[in-house]
Symmetry: C2
Subunit: 481 residues, 2 copies
């Protein structure tokens, strides 16, 4: 009885978000058809709905990259061991977690290859060949690809052994230009998160111990999940001329002098699908902001066998398809079943149309974020549906902003920080002396790591939250994914 | 003197296509900035211009896939050894050429993993979990990714150890539906080649010895390169229920009976960038059909320092950008230098505008395919430029069709076939008895392999071109890449 089995599958509710956040997350991933597990431990299958969200994110981000002069390239998947080792901090950071290829076909390779964990070394080697003169600068390259890092504990989207991302790699004539690029891309990430994903972020610099392997400075956007944990949502790195010196990337300037280039890199990954789930989702499943929703409006004909209903639903789909991403679900399942399914999938707006609606030349629009119903004349749908989508997008961002605001605290000492984080986790603003020992101790005592040194500094006190000595910076701390 | 060096680089002509086709090909790849070599032997770097061509191809093909109901997914990069081995013909075909991963981070893996050479086994394993009932069918999945095959001899785009492609994988309730899908996708490939790439193709079935490892039947589109060699340009496979039996992919039909699904797969790769070069290119470099050209119109202001020239060029760029892919090259290099550079890159249409043109409110349009110049009033540009692009697209297809027609021969015996192929290579139509031994002997004697058994059969004679016994089929033979 396959039909019965399928019905059971749906009525079975997902885990309560407040009771077991981790299990709730896994339930949403599976039941919203976002991802599935694969035969290879720690790697997931992106199912059509999950991949469609990534396609939307990729497309909108790619437009932003191209509008700021970046070009897409594609570098090989494989890196020779000797190439990976050229920059010493970089190899120290990544070598412990790469996958090694030792055989090609039946033959043992003369030199081991690893699958790219990130592609700095490949870009540097290419730039060393490509860049000769100041005329060749800047080089503003990006690539969309997957990378592999041999993680021990994994969770769909948040931490997997293979993940999809984009990695930008740029080379500039001067240190100033490289720094400008590093901040420009951070701002693009932040704007994208807010306007597309409806996720507000904290912007700032990583501490020395949290920065990228080989970087001079790493910048980050950090967002707050519903369980009060932070998610590192995108990072940009200024390499100075460190990689250029290791790889010999030099150009002849206008005065005919040889100079090293200054480089940046920046990355944003499918982990933010996890962010979408954990920021907006609820006990009915996923809640997607319209700008990241593969289906923005789902049309559900009710009693579709009654005269005119299906035709009206189809006509509406045809009309709306010109302005929004719309689908119709006319399966033989009950309206309730179909309502739940598209709620689980986080479709922002449901359009119900039945015989009684048709008599009145109207339909019902139901918002996924608030559940609010609006009766709309069929003639006004091209205005009403997009207007509601705009409202939903704005509301999700406003709600997330409100939570971020409410759950950002200040602490004067580590004990206070621990209490806050135990009672109601979130970001804690606290002063820091600048020493790694204090970071380590705070982590041990509270479970919170330094998330960033925000650009907008406040002077909460004069002394470090840990050692009580002179404070250098205000830092955002949080327990994090 | 970097500027001097760059000038020299350009004036140095590429190898003559008729003298050394292979070297001419490599020159175009490098000098049109399509690809570069990487540190890992046999893997290339897709440079921005080469990757932009792939993006255009991908986008237009993806539209065709989605319009026929296919959905994109993403499967893991890695396959366990045991999974690869599940279908015996498949593993026999691919195991000799896969890259093996033995270590993750510092640890030896308990089971070897290979990088996907193709993803049948991953899709089958997923489908076995996913498909329960006839309601779950058909499954029409596709993915865009890279695959790795440890080839011994490589050439940019045509044969590399890593290449980009799409692979479609579908599961159907019946054998008829699977066969329909196999032919539908072959027709989409053929239509795409003709209408986007301006490359006419031969359609047909592969012989037993040329079919895909694990397939019941393989279909192919074959195109003719300028040197008279054939290029396999896309293949579709009908697996019957062979993989379904090996992986246990069963569904409950409407009568509550367990049935095996019937499957297909089909792939199209970056090798067709090589096809574009070898079908349309000439001794001035690449020639791109407008539908596959990242830049369709290049605007070259001449004497841009003269009053009004640059402004007029910019205004024209702004106007044309609404209807075509247009760029302006206002570098300080000579007009001649710039003309050559964009000819090398195969830009279909050049728009020259200088002070004298401006006086007459006109510009000169120069076609890349014929070199023909047209003087066009600036006011008429929105009509004239797209019209010329349409003509160029049609002309390139017509020329390629003409060559294909002229270089398709018939042969009665292997000796005649050899003579034809030595004198003026192309496709040779000849009858075949259906035995692999004859295929092998023809290959040995003439260097030509069976390319396909065309759908449109002709009865050239009654006997096999090789053994003289009763002929079963007419086959297209050619020396091939």
């Amino acid at each position: 009885m396959p039909k019965e089995k399928e019905k059971e599958k749906l009525v079975e509710a997902i885990t309560d978000r407040e009771k077991d956040f981790a299990q709730w997350y896994t339930d949403v991933v599976k039941k919203a058809d976002l991802a599935d597990y694969s035969e290879v431990g720690g790697c997931v299958i992106f199912r059509p709905y999950g991949y469609a969200i990534w396609e939307l994110m990729r497309q909108q981000m790619d437009e932003r990259f191209k509008a700021t002069g970046h070009e897409n390239v594609y570098m090989p998947l494989l890196i020779t061991e000797s190439l990976l080792q050229k920059e010493k901090d970089h190899v120290a950071g990544f070598a412990p977690e790469v996958a090694w290829i030792t055989h090609g076909g039946q033959e043992k390779l003369t030199e081991k290859l690893c699958i790219r964990p990130t592609s700095e070394t490949l870009f540097c080697s290419h730039y060393a060949n490509l860049i000769q003169s100041y005329r060749d600068l800047p080089k503003l390259y990006n690539q969309w690809c997957s990378v592999v890092r041999w993680e021990k504990t994994t969770r769909p989207f948040l931490r997997t052994r293979e993940f999809l991302w984009q990695e930008g790699h740029t080379a500039h004539a001067t240190a100033e230009e490289a720094q400008e690029e590093t901040i420009r891309m951070l701002n693009i990430y932040a704007e994208f998160c807010e306007n597309v994903l409806a996720i507000p972020v904290m912007k700032g610099q990583k501490t020395e111990s949290e920065k990228f392997a080989g970087a001079m400075a790493t910048y980050t956007i950090e967002s707050l999940m519903h369980d009060g944990k932070a998610l590192q949502s995108g990072t940009t790195h200024n390499f100075g001329d460190g990689f250029a010196r290791a790889f010999g990337i030099q150009y002849t300037d206008k005065n005919n002098q040889l100079q090293y280039v200054h480089q940046t890199s920046w990355g944003f990954s499918t982990r933010m699908i996890g962010g979408l789930i954990m920021v907006h989702g609820d006990n009915s499943g996923l809640v997607l902001p319209p700008n990241a929703a593969p289906v923005q409006v789902i049309i559900i004909p009710v009693a579709a066998h009654k005269e005119g209903v299906l035709e009206a639903a189809k006509a509406m789909q045809e009309r709306l398809s010109k302005i929004v991403r719309v689908k119709m679900d006319n399966s033989d399942r009950s309206p309730g079943w179909r309502f739940s399914e598209h709620e689980m999938k986080g479709v922002p707006l449901r359009l119900e149309i039945g015989p009684k609606d048709l008599e009145k030349n109207q339909a019902v629009l139901v918002r996924r974020d608030t559940g609010a119903k609006t009766i709309v004349s069929l003639d006004a749908m091209e205005t009403a549906a997009p207007a509601l989508l705009t409202e939903i997008q704005a509301n999700l961002l406003a709600q997330a902003r409100q939570r971020l605001h409410e759950r950002t605290y200040t602490a004067a000492d580590a004990e206070e920080m621990r209490k806050i984080l135990d009672a109601s986790p979130g970001f804690v603003k606290a002063m820091w002396c600048g020493r790694e020992a204090c970071e380590d101790q705070i982590k041990e005592q509270t479970g919170a790591s330094s998330r960033c040194i925000p650009f907008e500094q406040e002077r909460i006190s004069d002394v470090c939250v840990c050692c009580g000595e002179k404070a250098e910076k205000m830092v955002y701390w949080a327990r994090a994914y």
